[in-house]
């Protein structure tokens, strides 16, 4: 009997062998996405160790680095600021794991989730591109992601090998937009959208889009913060008003639902976060430098009430 089960185990191991070899080969190659928006997660997660508490930590999607001027916030509030947001498609569970053990007393965790994050839409290939072969980032991948991460590996690996063939990797980057030390985008940005918004990315905001899994993670993050003696607050990220296709009732429904479900302070209202098209740079969530100034100003005013 033992011999029989051993044979089955050997068969399964032999099936896994080619995949393991491919994984080992691709993982041994240098990183190629480290200079991209997704690759900034490595630097940002490193800031959690480098910058001591108390500090302000922004968590969310790509709107975070485009909407918050960390240097200004630090100056105005007298607290260092870290912008952990990279993309909504990493999912809040991943950010929560990254933060685990790093939240210190007096920290202020600001959650700025975009619609995709509330929908709990996760792009596993994007996450591979973010974490690549960095053990500290791989460790933070939630167990619930593992299956899909494994399924997305082939696509990531093929993409990475293509880029390596094309000569990337030696320089360690594909492109390098101007990210500041604190993880926000510091390059000067003007509105470049032809119609004032991305016409192929209409945004629907209503209470039905909020996934229970997202709410579970919000509550979990709030609890993590509370345990560590930190403050957890919620902010609606900027959204291009022109791209929103929900009516007033739906918007009000979403806001009241989130306020009911999330036991936290809110830094702004959903209406405040809907901004004119002229303030958006290259997507319906990415602000221009001017838009960033306005949004940051709102946040600073709200954060003052939190910091006292």
């Amino acid at each position: 009997m033992k011999k029989y089960f051993l044979k089955i185990a050997v068969y399964l191991l032999l099936l896994a062998l080619p995949l393991t070899l491919i994984f080992a080969y691709v993982q041994s190659k240098p990183t190629v996405f480290s200079g991209t928006l997704l690759g900034t997660i490595y630097h940002k997660s490193g800031l959690l160790d480098e910058v001591g508490s108390p500090r302000i930590i922004f968590v969310g999607g790509s709107s975070c680095p485009y909407a918050t001027d960390c240097e200004r916030i630090s100056e105005e509030l007298g607290m260092p600021c870290i912008n952990l947001g990279v993309t909504s498609y990493f999912g809040l569970a991943y950010y929560r794991n990254l933060l685990k053990g790093h939240i210190g007393e007096g920290d202020i965790i600001v959650l700025m989730p975009e619609a995709a994050m509330m929908r709990n839409k996760i792009n596993y290939e994007a996450l591979w591109e973010g974490v690549e072969n960095r053990p500290s980032l791989l460790r933070a991948v939630p167990v619930s992601y593992w299956k899909n991460m494994a399924l997305a590996y082939y696509k990531y690996a093929a993409h990475k090998l293509d880029l390596l063939d094309a000569g990337y990797g030696k320089k360690g980057e594909i492109y390098s937009p101007d990210f500041g030390y604190f993880g926000d985008v510091t390059q000067y940005r003007e509105a470049i959208l032809e119609h004032g918004y991305m016409t192929d990315d209409e945004i629907m905001l209503n209470r039905e889009m909020v996934e229970p899994e997202f709410l579970r993670n919000v509550r979990g993050l709030a609890k993590d913060a509370e345990k560590a003696g930190a403050v957890f607050v919620f902010a609606f990220p900027p959204v291009d008003k022109l791209a929103v296709i929900s009516d007033e009732n739906e918007l009000a429904g979403l806001e009241s639902y989130l306020r009911d479900e999330i036991n936290a302070g809110f830094l702004n209202t959903l209406n405040d976060s809907l901004m004119e098209g002229q303030y958006f740079y290259n997507s319906n969530n990415h602000l221009t430098t001017e838009g960033e100034e306005i949004y940051t100003e709102t946040l600073i005013r709200a954060l003052r009430s939190v910091t006292g």
């Binding site: 099936l15 995949l19 997305a152 082939y154």
Partner: protein, 496 residues
């Protein structure tokens, strides 16, 4: 929980290990609990429906076992059948009937509409309903005694390997097996694992891959050339065969590991040289069910005879032609509540009638046909089957007719690649891969023509045998990891 999901990969070993660890007297209870969990993983609410069908058919069986008067027995049989069929009708056919009545009323400009029912089609309802019907009828016919133990009977109805997509088991085969003591047997386990491996290969490597092109073409039929539709229909014929027979393979394999023998459901159907043979090789459990419980009773029914069977062929034998049409219509309706399925069934009925009336008996019985002629017949049956599958796959009759007209109008197989390009078939490598998979399937069907494929496979020299297992396993794993999808593609027959 689909057979091709990670959950099932955990579920099956867990069920098997606990089954063999538990004392014999608890094993059926464990299987019953596991089977209900399996069913509830789709929709918890519908457990009440399967319970209702189980309970009513169980009671009908018990009453039939105790009652002797023929009139009473008939009344109990009728009540048992109605109870089972009623829930099938409500959940599967009511909205179809209501929709058609409303259409008629609309065309007559009549006021008022019947509201449609807000129900979802419960997974496997057609399969387990037919299983309960066969039990009640068999008890009535005295083919088997009524089952006294409710839990054993409930297990017969819900036994997880064949619960949601067959094979439609007969109580005469399955019920006695629940009384047997099954010990873990390595040879039997290997047989089961082999079948599961072949099933996973057919489903994940062939069916799901072909489905990409089939779905693309059929969803954009009106934008694409008829040649693409024709090619997609050919692929669909392979897809549906691999998809459904894969389910049966995994079901039979899973049951085999536990020590249960389920009936064969497919035996190289596309190598049939007639439709009569095709239906002895395709969905065998359904076709034998229809034969035993619909066709034969109709042929021998006196009142039915008065209606139809007077129309005899050359005045010699009782006519079976109207009954053939009826049986295939029922087969079509069984598959789905839609006109496309009815037409599909009707077409197969017509094929069979043509076979019975046009082809001389001598030719049918001739053993020494030339190989070329035989292959020609096989090809013709396959092509005619593909034609019927256009109706099976299309969403509406209009779509199916449009597809047929486009195929006839645009027929240009030389430029297949050009026409398939918009559907995603962009490189010759993809076409080569499709050809390779069809060739592998063809070889397998040749090997399995007499239903001995697995025995033959296990009689290969060890090196060759393990190479085949490894290649199949690797193809499955490779396809899972390269399909770039976290979505488990459900088996087509789940919708029936």
């Amino acid at each position: 929980m689909a057979f091709n999901s990670l959950q099932f990969a955990i579920y099956l070993p867990t069920v098997c290990i606990l089954y063999f660890i538990l004392p014999v007297k608890y094993r059926n209870y464990w299987l019953l609990a596991a089977s209900y969990y399996f069913y509830m993983s789709w929709n918890v609410k519908y457990v009440f429906l399967i319970l209702f069908t189980t309970l009513t058919s169980y009671l009908a069986g018990r009453l039939l076992g105790r009652t002797t008067g023929e009139g009473r027995r008939k009344a109990i049989l009728t009540a048992g059948i109605i109870a089972s069929v009623a829930s099938l009708f409500v959940f599967k056919y009511a909205n179809f009937v209501i929709g058609n009545i409303n259409l008629v009323m609309e065309s007559l400009h009549a006021t008022g509409r019947i509201p449609v029912l807000n129900v979802l089609l419960p997974v496997g309802i057609s399969f387990y309903t037919f299983q309960t019907l066969s039990y009640v009828i068999d008890v009535y016919r005295g083919k088997l005694p009524d089952e006294k133990d409710f839990f054993v009977y409930a297990l017969y109805v819900s036994f997880f390997p064949q619960l949601v997509a067959g094979p439609i088991e007969r109580a005469t085969n399955l019920l006695p097996q629940f009384r047997e003591v099954h010990r873990f047997d390595t040879a039997r386990c290997s047989d089961g694992l082999r079948r599961i491996l072949v099933g996973l290969f057919k489903k994940i490597v062939i069916a799901d891959y072909f489905a990409i092109y089939v779905n693309e073409v059929y969803s954009r039929m009106r934008e694409l050339n008829g040649t693409a539709v024709m090619f997609a229909t050919f692929l669909f014929a392979i897809q549906i065969y691999c998809d459904f027979s894969a389910y049966s393979d995994i079901a039979i394999g899973s049951a085999l590991i536990l020590g249960f023998r389920l009936m064969e459901n497919f035996r190289s159907p596309y190598l049939s040289d007639s439709f009569s043979e095709f239906w002895k090789r395709w969905h065998i459990s359904l076709s034998t069910w229809l034969q035993d419980y619909i066709f034969v009773p109709l042929v021998w029914s006196r009142w039915w005879d008065k209606l139809f069977n007077r129309h005899t062929i050359d005045g010699k034998k009782p006519a079976v032609l109207p009954n053939l049409i009826i049986v295939f219509l029922i087969s079509g309706i069984w598959h789905g509540a839609g006109w496309t399925f009815i037409v599909w069934g009707l077409l197969h009925g017509i094929y069979r009638v043509i076979e019975e009336t046009v082809i001389p008996k001598k030719w049918k019985k001739r053993k020494n046909k030339k190989k070329a002629v035989l292959w020609l017949e096989v090809g013709l049956v396959f092509v005619m089957n593909c034609f019927s599958l256009i109706f099976f796959r299309a969403d509406t009759i209009g779509d199916a007719l449009y597809a047929v007209s486009r195929i006839v109008r645009d027929f240009d197989p030389v430029h297949l690649m050009t026409y398939m390009q918009p559907a995603g078939l962009e490189e010759y490598g993809q076409l080569l891969w499709i050809i390779l998979l069809v060739a592998v399937l063809f070889l397998w069907d040749l090997l399995n023509y007499r239903g001995e494929g697995f025995e033959k496979l296990s009689s290969f020299r060890p090196v060759l045998r393990y190479a085949v297992y490894y290649a199949l396993g690797l193809a499955v794993v490779w396809r899972i990891f390269t399909s770039m999808s976290d979505i488990v593609i459900e088996f087509i027959y789940f919708q029936f």
